[in-house]
């Protein structure tokens, strides 16, 4: 395999893992539940996206023809990730979890 293709694959893998790592750091650092909810949506978009692109390039360049079925991972993640985030947020609203003092606005009651 071409060495510059290898470099490209490594680059995308590193970028993907970096964003997954930042998501994890966010999960640790952010102060309240709703803010922590933002971290997982990050790692599922760019984190997995980067790794999927790396896999796509790697398997397509091995000479067995184009390999695109990794794209489906992204597709299904994009469909399911917002649903789980929404369910978590809804449960948190129901439980009235503690909010960071700096939060502007309050969730409604209904």
């Amino acid at each position: 395999m071409n060495s510059w293709i290898e470099a490209l694959v490594a680059l995308f893998l590193l970028a993907g893992s970096l964003f997954a790592l930042i998501g994890a750091i966010g999960l640790y650092r952010l102060p309240d539940f709703f803010m922590r909810l933002h971290a997982p949506t990050k790692s599922t978009t760019l984190g997995v996206g980067g790794m999927v692109i790396a896999s796509l390039i790697y398997f397509s360049s091995r000479g067995d023809g184009l390999s695109l079925h990794e794209l489906l991972i992204t597709l299904f993640l994009f469909i399911t990730a917002p649903v789980s985030a929404h369910m978590l947020a809804k449960a948190a609203l129901q439980q009235k979890v503690r909010l960071s003092d700096k939060t502007h606005g309050r969730p409604w009651e209904q």
Binding site: F19, I22, I25, G26, R29, L30, D32, F34, M35, L37, H38, A39, T41, K42, T45, L46, G65, L66, S67, L68, H69, L71, L72, L75, F78, I79, A81, P82, V83, A85, H86, A89, K90, A92, L93, S100, K102, T103, H104, G105, R106, P107, W108, Q110
Partner: protein, 167 residues
């Protein structure tokens, strides 16, 4: 129209074909024909289950819109990464209520999902009358601007794509 009867949902047929080709990971004529057959039969068989079949008026515009959303996701990701990694970053989290005009169920789901997918904003709830979305944002400098951004960047194109779908 006759074409409507044989192809009740052309876009669903097309996406089924694409998903089939990707699942098979094989772009030969045989798989293409099989995918086309599935894309034709499945919408016909499941037609009775759709209560309000979504009507997409401008499929091409929808594709362009998806590309733009992908770009926005990358930009917003970098923005949130900066917020998380910068220890001195001052975050201004907020709950924002966004009035919406969309009525089509699929379009509403898409808008809520897009808001959740762009890092920095999560759709927390929808009001019972489906007129307002409750959005939690990580860092809001100006609430009016966030509302305007979401309405012009995401809601307006969706309204256009699903123009005739409100019944």
């Amino acid at each position: 129209m006759k074409a409507r009867r044989w192809f009740p949902q052309p876009l669903l047929s097309l996406s089924l074909l694409v998903v089939w080709m990707l699942l098979a990971n094989d772009f030969s004529l045989g798989q293409c024909l099989l995918g086309a057959l599935l894309g034709w039969v499945i919408p016909l068989v499941t037609e009775v289950f759709w209560i309000n079949p979504p009507r997409v008026d401008k499929p091409f515009k929808l594709c362009l819109f998806f590309l733009r959303v992908l770009g926005d996701i990358v930009v917003a990701n970098l923005e949130v990464a900066r917020l998380i990694l910068n220890p001195k970053a001052e975050m201004r989290p907020a709950f924002v209520e966004i009035p919406i005009e969309l009525e089509d169920e699929l379009a509403l789901t898409m808008l809520a999902s897009i808001i959740s997918l762009t890092p920095g904003t999560v759709t927390a709830d929808m009001s019972d009358d489906r007129k307002t979305l409750l959005v939690h944002a990580l860092d809001v400098a100006d609430e009016a601007r966030l509302i305007r951004d979401i309405k012009t960047r995401y809601e307006a194109p969706l309204l256009e794509v699903f123009a005739c779908s409100t019944t």
